[in-house]
């Protein structure tokens, strides 16, 4: 009888441990993924690459992480390179080249700024819009009704 009791107590302890720690752990992993520079940059580059082969007048809404981060785009001589940097103690940055297929890609930052900055305190929306043969990246929706 006492043996069964001990087993039961051990099982309850293990279950309690797992119940409380696993969500915390997965939450921490999810948060780490969300603020990872490589993942964010690759996701945004993927959106642009797919929009390049999509019909015109389409828009995709992406959420920038709630962190100290910035999106920049360098375009020169047909090459477009997206640069995502995030500061989490130290600065992480990742550059991804966009597929070149004749569609131009432009970033529309606020006047006087080089890139689009994230907001601390909220997940800021970023819009990727395909208008004719151009893709624009903006903080504001570029297609009405979306």
């Amino acid at each position: 009888m006492r043996g069964i009791l001990w087993t039961l107590v051990s099982v309850i302890l293990i279950l309690a441990f797992l119940t409380f720690l696993i969500p915390t752990l997965f939450g921490a992993v999810g948060n780490a993924v969300q603020v990872n520079a490589v993942i964010n940059a690759e996701q945004m580059a993927g959106i642009i690459n797919i929009l390049e082969s999509s019909p015109a007048n389409g828009q995709y809404k992406f959420f920038l992480p709630d962190a100290d981060c910035k999106v920049q785009l360098k375009t020169k001589n047909g090459i477009a390179v997206l640069n995502f940097s995030i500061t989490l103690g130290t600065e992480q940055q990742h550059l991804v080249e966009i597929i070149e297929n004749g569609v131009s890609v432009s970033l529309l930052p606020q006047s006087g700024q080089e890139g689009i900055e994230c907001d601390k305190g909220r997940e800021k929306p970023l819009y990727f819009a395909r208008l004719n043969n151009n893709i624009f990246i903006s903080e504001n929706s570029l297609i009405s009704g979306e």
């Binding site: 001990w6 293990i14 752990l25 690759e42 390049e52 360098k74 047909g78």
Partner: protein, 284 residues
């Protein structure tokens, strides 16, 4: 009066404590040693994005239905037509699945476009597509089934070619680690690059990996990459091949000047130009 605890009971308590301690240590061990690994599968991601672009390119009449005449016009050309991302090279292989229909329409059974190499691709996938038969009004019944294999490559040569292209087009110096880093070997550099042009058959526009024919003699292997609209100062590794063998860093420097030799001069940073006339390669 308290009962005396027997040695067997003491051992029983010790055993229970050991079991509980073991369970706690085991659980802690699980959590301490848990390392989440995020795999991005970038080559696969690139392949999918590339295919989306290919399926909607000027080679097609509608999604995934290709003009065979146009596809044939690029056969065995090492250009990466319509779309390009210099980080990865790609080859498109079209294989006719209904040979009789292809023969009847005088369409080649096998067409290959893009990067040439004997090396295995980093990622490869096949897709069912079709050839549109010209002059037919019956759209749905006049498509010949074809298989498209998309091979994505990430080799030392594609890395070096991409560094040269980025340096020239962005006007920023690029750097690659040569030995002991992702298997890159800077001895693969060899080039006939001399000018600007768009003719992919012109060997002056290609960069290729070296093949040793006999001690001290090298030639271009079948692995080549075409670099459009890039001016590149000819690399001469034939004499300095042994020097290259020990190279640690390869730099692609956009410049308006001329470099001599293969080693980077001490003042290479002052020779960088944001509006380069060519790219020079050097090692450190």
């Amino acid at each position: 009066m308290m009962r005396r605890i027997t040695p067997i009971e003491v051992m029983g308590y010790v055993f229970k404590i050991v079991v509980v301690a073991f369970v706690i240590i085991f659980l802690l061990q699980i959590f301490v040693n848990m390392w989440p690994v995020v795999r991005l599968n970038q080559a696969e991601k690139f392949s999918i994005e590339l295919v989306e672009n290919v399926m909607n390119s000027n080679l097609t009449t509608s999604y995934g239905v290709f003009y065979p005449v146009l596809v044939e016009s690029y056969h065995m050309k090492i250009i990466e037509p319509f779309m390009r991302q210099c980080d990865y090279a790609y080859a498109l292989r079209f294989t006719c699945k209904d040979r009789d229909s292809c023969d009847d329409e005088n369409i080649m059974d096998y067409i290959v476009i893009g990067y040439f190499t004997d090396k295995a691709p980093l990622f490869s996938k096949t897709y069912p597509i079709g050839y549109r038969i010209d002059g037919s009004d019956d759209y749905y019944n006049n498509v010949i089934p074809v298989e498209l294999q998309v091979d994505v490559y990430d080799t030392a040569l594609t890395n070096i070619a991409c560094a040269i292209e980025k340096a020239y087009k962005l006007g920023e110096p690029q750097e690659l680690r040569c030995l002991g880093y992702e298997g890159r070997d800077c001895r693969t550099i060899y080039s006939y690059f001399t000018g600007v042009g768009t003719d992919e058959t012109d060997t002056n526009k290609n960069i290729c990996s070296l093949q040793v024919t006999s001690p001290g003699n090298y030639k271009c292997s079948s692995e080549k990459r075409y670099l459009p609209d890039v001016v590149f100062q000819r690399a001469e590794p034939l004499v300095e091949f042994e020097t290259l063998k020990n190279a640690k860093i390869l730099r692609a420097i956009p410049t308006q000047g001329e470099f001599s030799g293969v080693e980077c001069p001490n003042n290479w940073q002052s020779l960088v130009s944001s509006a380069p006339t060519s790219v020079a390669l050097c090692i450190e």
